[in-house]
């Protein structure tokens, strides 16, 4: 497929998906192509800076948009009065996808966001909407992979470990998964305090007071570098508590090891997860979401449960999903991100869930059996003949697309052709038509489903 053919297909996909999303109640929003870079960096972290196309203007660092979600969240936080917003987005996104020496700077993305609802109905709707788009495009052999970032967090919560330690463990779980537990422990040793300079018997309140008093000695300000003495005291206390967490790390590593091994069809995966995490309310919710997808007609055999699907623990807060084609190429990804709006605005956290298609990947995955459309050409061999322009006008008046065929132009054998004889009549399929036979000609052309 050439770039032009792909671009044409993407436009068709975009149009078709817009109709589907509109049918689900999603309004199309046009988002700015240029935004402040900070908006995207706040969402994804500074590690994406090298992929962003940034530039400075009047002292502000600006960026071409790499996606739609951050701008949508900001738009919701600052400009909308709706409680629940359903938005869809279509357009080019810009990121440096350089891989193995080949560069790709622009892709077409189609996305949807449902902002303002914490209900699992919102999760279900978003997953269904994403699936509906893929199904409507006749993608063969797609698979829906579903994970959940909340379930494992809930499970780790039982160990009473600090949220920061939990984040550290989840971020570095790949080492445990790869069986390199010693590398994991080496990293952990750098992170977790090994001893406390404070008395372990001291209660939290008196310890905080002691720390505040200590930190106050000789200091000129109560705040320095954006942190108050209380911030510092609280963190010292937290580090103090983390000393005790080492005792539980073996159990945590054991849980993560088992958890990362689970994946497969919903029935078997949920069975294993329930054995590992009995009484998990979020696990029940997750299973319920999958069950509702089945009710809607999504075949369970095309759903896989991947508890370890989450890549960015700083971003996703609940369900996470990805749709892949038969070859495993990602067509679409999304999930719940309840903390983003709080981070990029002054508003408290707002629940949100959304997804985006990679329209380029989707265009490549669509079945190649689709009919190649037949184009209609009118030969321009007598370009000075007024009959040419008269016929073009007449045909186009009937909403039939027709292209003037230049003498130098090659066309596909499947394309339809009109020519004009010396008397100014149109020849089509060996029949000739006068201008007052236009209706007959149109009817004949329309017999071809183009």
């Amino acid at each position: 497929m050439t770039d032009f053919q792909r671009a044409k297909r993407i436009r068709e996909i975009s149009f078709a998906l817009e109709q589907i999303m509109t049918g689900f109640g999603y309004t199309t929003l046009e988002m700015p192509i240029i935004e402040t870079a900070e908006l995207f960096l706040t969402k994804a972290g500074d590690q994406i800076i090298e992929k962003l196309f940034t530039f400075e203007r009047y002292g502000r660092q600006l960026s071409l948009r790499p996606e739609f979600t951050a701008a949508a969240a900001y738009h919701y936080a600052t400009q909308t009065k709706e409680t629940v917003a359903r938005w869809q987005f279509h357009g080019a996104v810009f990121e440096d996808y350089t891989q193995n020496g080949t560069s790709d700077y622009q892709r077409y993305s189609i996305g949807a966001e449902l902002i303002g609802s914490n209900s699992i109905a919102a999760d279900i709707e978003i997953v269904l909407l994403a699936l509906q788009g893929v199904i409507s495009q006749n993608v063969n052999g797609w698979t829906l992979k579903v994970g959940h970032s909340g379930v494992i967090r809930e499970a780790l919560g039982r160990f009473n470990i600090d949220a920061r330690t939990e984040r550290f463990i989840l971020t570095h779980r790949n080492l445990i998964q790869d069986g390199d537990v010693s590398a994991f422990r080496t990293l952990l040793d750098r992170y977790l305090p090994t001893k406390s300079e404070l008395s372990l018997e001291t209660d939290d309140e008196s310890l905080t007071q002691m720390l505040l008093a200590t930190l106050g000695n000789g200091q000129i300000n109560n705040t320095m570098g954006g942190r108050t003495r209380e911030d510092i005291a609280t963190r010292i206390l937290r580090k103090h508590k983390q000393v005790n967490e080492r005792e539980q790390i073996d159990d945590v590593v054991d849980l993560i090891t088992q958890w990362t091994k689970i994946h497969g069809q919903p029935a078997s995966a949920f069975h294993e997860l329930k054995q590992l995490l009995p009484d998990s309310t979020l696990l029940q919710q997750w299973e319920n979401i999958i069950s509702q997808l089945e009710t809607y007609g999504i075949p369970l055999e095309q759903i896989e449960i991947h508890p370890d699907l989450v890549r960015n623990w700083d971003y996703y807060t609940g369900i996470v999903f990805e749709i892949v084609d038969r070859e495993g190429n990602s067509l679409c990804g999304g999930g719940r991100y309840d903390e983003l709006i709080g981070l990029i605005s002054d508003r408290v956290s707002v629940p949100a869930v959304g997804f985006a298609y990679d329209a380029t990947a989707l265009a490549d995955a669509i079945k190649q059996t689709a009919n190649v459309s037949q184009r209609l050409f009118l030969h321009a061999q007598n370009a000075d003949s007024s009959a040419i322009w008269q016929w073009l006008h007449l045909i186009r008046q009937h909403d039939i697309p027709v292209t003037l065929l230049m003498p130098e132009q090659n066309i596909d054998p499947n394309d339809l052709q009109l020519s004009i004889d010396l008397s100014g009549r149109v020849i089509f399929n060996k029949n000739s038509y006068e201008t007052n036979d236009i209706e007959k000609l149109i009817a004949e052309i329309r017999k071809y489903d183009r």
């Binding site: 900070e38 960096l41 706040t42 972290g45 500074d46 590690q47 800076i49 920061r164 984040r167 971020t171 750098r190 992170y191 200590t214 930190l215 200091q219 000129i220 300000n221 320095m224 570098g225 954006g226 942190r227 003495r229 911030d231 510092i232 963190r235 010292i236 580090k239 700083d314 709080g342 981070l343 002054d346």
Partner: protein, 335 residues
Amino acid sequence: MTDKVTLALPSKGAIAEPTYNFLKDCSLKIHKPNERQYVGRIPKIAEVEVLFQRVKDVLYKVSDGTAQLGITGYDVVKENFHQDLLVIHPQLGYGHCQLVVAVPEMWADVTSMADVLDVSLDFREQKYRNIRVATTYPNMTREFLHQNGIHHFTIVKADGAIEAAPTIGYADFVVDLTQTGTTLRENHLKIIGDGIIVDSQACLIGNKRLIASSKTAQNVLRTILEHMDAAIVGRKYMQVTVNICGNSAEDIGNKLDSHDLTRGLEGPTIAPIYSAPSGSSEKWYTATLTLQSNTMMDVVDYLRTIGGTQIVATPVHSVFMPESETYKRVLDALR
């Protein structure tokens, strides 16, 4: 007409004067017609034209090909690396400083980069904003923070008085150059133990493309490097002359050669001393050696044990080895 080779040198800043002194020590004295001019020359190498620029501009001029060679700070090179740049000599031995992460002294809980990571997440979760770091080195800062798992931060670019940023309030911590740490301490900042981003000193850089394509540039570079290498090696040595009483020059030679400390570069030069007849049958010789200066006291002690006295130690200006190792490396890199 002979091709000119432009050598860009710092016109001001901490390494400007030390650079002129270093070149002088390398027998490559700079001639600057007057303080206000931006060009000068090295009388010893006729093809060289010296261009005086700010340290950052030295790098830019070499990168864009205005100059073939330049001396600037290694920190500047690391921050603004360009594909045409070649670091010819990374350690000229002066202008030492470090680029470090420094946080407010008041942050008693922060002693490592793991702590900075933890605090950056506190900012995100509790203050709903990124932690801010003030620096004039955004590229190295970014890379270093990423290496330490810190991904949620905002870089506040500033040109001066970085140390004051946390006090004034426009940043939470800093990444700044320091030589002794005094300025940081005076601004109530402390250096994080594992927060040293780069150890920097003055370095010689060149434009790969221009050097590879010009014989003149290569010849000039060889001359400069021969002198620099000789001067840098020379700093490590002292020339020692010692009078020793012994049976023969061979006997003394054996004693000196048998000890690692007094073997010298290729062994001693020994000559008899002419003495007026005094009735003594002792024979005196003088030995000349080139020895490592950091072992001088041990050398003196050993020389005394073998009858040495009146030991004269003088600094060595230059030691020219069989070839310039640095120039050899440059040629390898250009191939």
